[in-house]
C-alpha cells in the first residue's frame, strides 16, 4: 500500500503538470479499431436514479434537463490524476459532436462533496471547459449515484499541494437523455473515437 501511495503521488504530479497527459511529441499510436456491431452485454447492471445539484445550485437528476445525451464521469474537479485527462477529453468530444449536430452534456459527479461544493465546482471546472456540468450533493444523495454506477473510491492521502487524493473508478458512462446507461467508455480514448461511438448510439 505504501508503494501505491508513492506512485499515486508521483503520478498526480506528472498528470497535473501535463507531462503525462500532454507530451509535446507524439508518435504513431495504434490505429483505432473500426466500430463493429458486435456487442456483448456487460455482466453488471449500471445506472439508476439520483438527485443532485449542479454548480449553479440547480437540482439535477439522471435526466438531462435539455434533452441531451450525457457523458458521465465520477471524480473531482481539481483531481490531478485521471480526471485531468478524462474531463478535457469529454469536453473535446462534446465539442466535436456539437459540430456534427449532436449535443451532449459532459458531466462530473463528485466523489468528494467537501471539496466540490456548489460554490467551488464551477470555477474549478471552468478552467477545463465551461461546458462541463459538475454535480454534488449530500453524502446520502451521492451514495445513491455511486451505488447505481458501482463506483468505488478510496482516499489515499492528503497531498500538500493538491489536497485529498483518491484512487477511483475511471470509466466514463454514456447515458441517454432519460439517464439510461448506453455503454461505458475507457477514459483513454481520443475524443474523435468517443464522438464516433456516441454518434452510433445517437443513431447518426
Amino acid at each position: 500500500m505504501r508503494l501505491r501511495n508513492l506512485l499515486l503521488a508521483v503520478a498526480c504530479s506528472g498528470l497535473a503538470s501535463g507531462a503525462l497527459a500532454h507530451g509535446t511529441e507524439t508518435h504513431a499510436a495504434p490505429p483505432a479499431l473500426a466500430l463493429s456491431d458486435q456487442v456483448t452485454a456487460l455482466p453488471w447492471k449500471l445506472g439508476g436514479a439520483f438527485e443532485l445539484v449542479d454548480q449553479t445550485g440547480a437540482p439535477r437528476t439522471q435526466t438531462d434537463p435539455d434533452g441531451r445525451m450525457q457523458l458521465v464521469f465520477f471524480g473531482y474537479a481539481n483531481c490531478p490524476g485521471i480526471c485531468s485527462a478524462a474531463l478535457p477529453m469529454m469536453a473535446d468530444a462534446a465539442e466535436l459532436l456539437e459540430r456534427r449536430g449532436i449535443t451532449v452534456s459532459p458531466v462530473l459527479i463528485t466523489i468528494d462533496p467537501v471539496l466540490d461544493t456548489v460554490e467551488t465546482m464551477g470555477p474549478a471546472l471552468a478552467k477545463i471547459s465551461t461546458d462541463l456540468v459538475g454535480l454534488t450533493g449530500d453524502r446520502e444523495a451521492l451514495s445513491e449515484a455511486y451505488d447505481a454506477f458501482q463506483i468505488d473510491f478510496e482516499k489515499i492521502m492528503d497531498d500538500p499541494e493538491y489536497g485529498p487524493i483518491y484512487a477511483h473508478s475511471s470509466h466514463i458512462f454514456l447515458l441517454d437523455q432519460a439517464g439510461k446507461v448506453l455503454t461505458l467508455l475507457p477514459p483513454v480514448l481520443p475524443p474523435e473515437q468517443v464522438a464516433d461511438i456516441v454518434m452510433k448510439y445517437a443513431g447518426s
Binding site: 500500500m1 508503494l3 501505491r4 506512485l7 499515486l8 508521483v10 503520478a11 498526480c12 506528472g14 507531462a19 503525462l20 497527459a21 500532454h22 507530451g23 507524439t26 508518435h27 504513431a28 499510436a29 495504434p30 483505432a32 479499431l33 473500426a34 466500430l35 463493429s36 458486435q38 456487442v39 456483448t40 452485454a41 456487460l42 455482466p43 453488471w44 447492471k45 449500471l46 445506472g47 490524476g81 485521471i82 480526471c83 485527462a85 451505488d147 458501482q150 468505488d152 484512487a167 477511483h168 473508478s169 475511471s170 441517454d176 446507461v181 448506453l182 455503454t183 461505458l184 467508455l185 475507457p186 477514459p187 483513454v188 480514448l189 481520443p190 461511438i197 452510433k200 448510439y201 443513431g203
Partner: protein, 150 residues
C-alpha cells in the same frame, strides 16, 4: 466493498445489434499494459511504451487511475475491467503487481463499440516481465524515474 452484481439477464439498452447472452470465455496470453500511453502515443510508439522500458510509467499511470489493458500476442488490446482478486480496473494492488508482466489470463470477453473488454477471472500463469527493451529505449519517458531527493 464493490457491489458487483452478476446480472447478465438485466441487459443494458443497446440500439445497435443483437446482444450476446454473456461474455465469451477465453484464455489469452499477453502483457499488462498502460493503456493511456499505448493509445495516446504521447510517450512513444507502441514498442517503446511496453516492457521494461515503460514499467515505471505504467505503475504511475495505473496508480493515477488509468485502466490497464492486456496486449495479446496477436496485437489485440483487451481493456481489463477487473482482475481476479482485485475489483479495480486500475491502481489496485494486483494491477500494480502485474504491470508490464506477461500473463496467461482466463476470463470473460465482452465486445462493445469496437473494443474488447476482459474480466480476468484467473491469472493462470504469471510469466513475469518478459519484454526486456530498456536497453533499446531507456526509460520511457526518461522523467519516469524519480530524481534522488535533495
Amino acid at each position: 466493498m464493490r457491489k458487483q452484481l452478476l446480472m447478465a439477464a438485466m441487459l443494458l439498452p443497446l440500439p445497435i445489434a443483437a446482444l450476446a447472452a454473456e461474455g465469451e470465455r477465453i484464455q489469452v496470453r499477453g502483457e499488462i499494459i498502460d493503456t493511456w500511453c499505448y493509445y495516446s502515443g504521447v510517450m512513444g510508439g507502441p514498442d517503446a511504451v511496453t516492457g521494461t522500458a515503460h514499467h515505471t510509467c505504467a505503475l504511475w499511470c495505473s496508480a493515477g487511475g488509468i485502466p490497464v489493458g492486456l496486449l495479446a500476442e496477436d496485437g489485440q488490446v483487451y481493456m481489463v475491467l477487473k482482475i481476479a482478486g482485485d475489483d479495480a480496473s486500475a491502481g489496485g494492488d494486483t494491477q500494480l503487481r502485474l504491470a508490464s508482466h506477461e500473463i496467461t489470463a482466463d476470463g470473460l470477453l465482452y465486445h462493445r463499440d469496437g473494443l474488447n473488454y476482459l474480466v480476468v477471472e484467473e491469472v493462470v500463469t504469471d510469466h513475469g516481465i518478459t519484454k526486456l527493451n530498456h536497453e533499446d529505449y531507456g526509460a520511457v519517458p526518461p522523467f519516469a524515474i524519480p530524481k534522488p531527493g535533495k
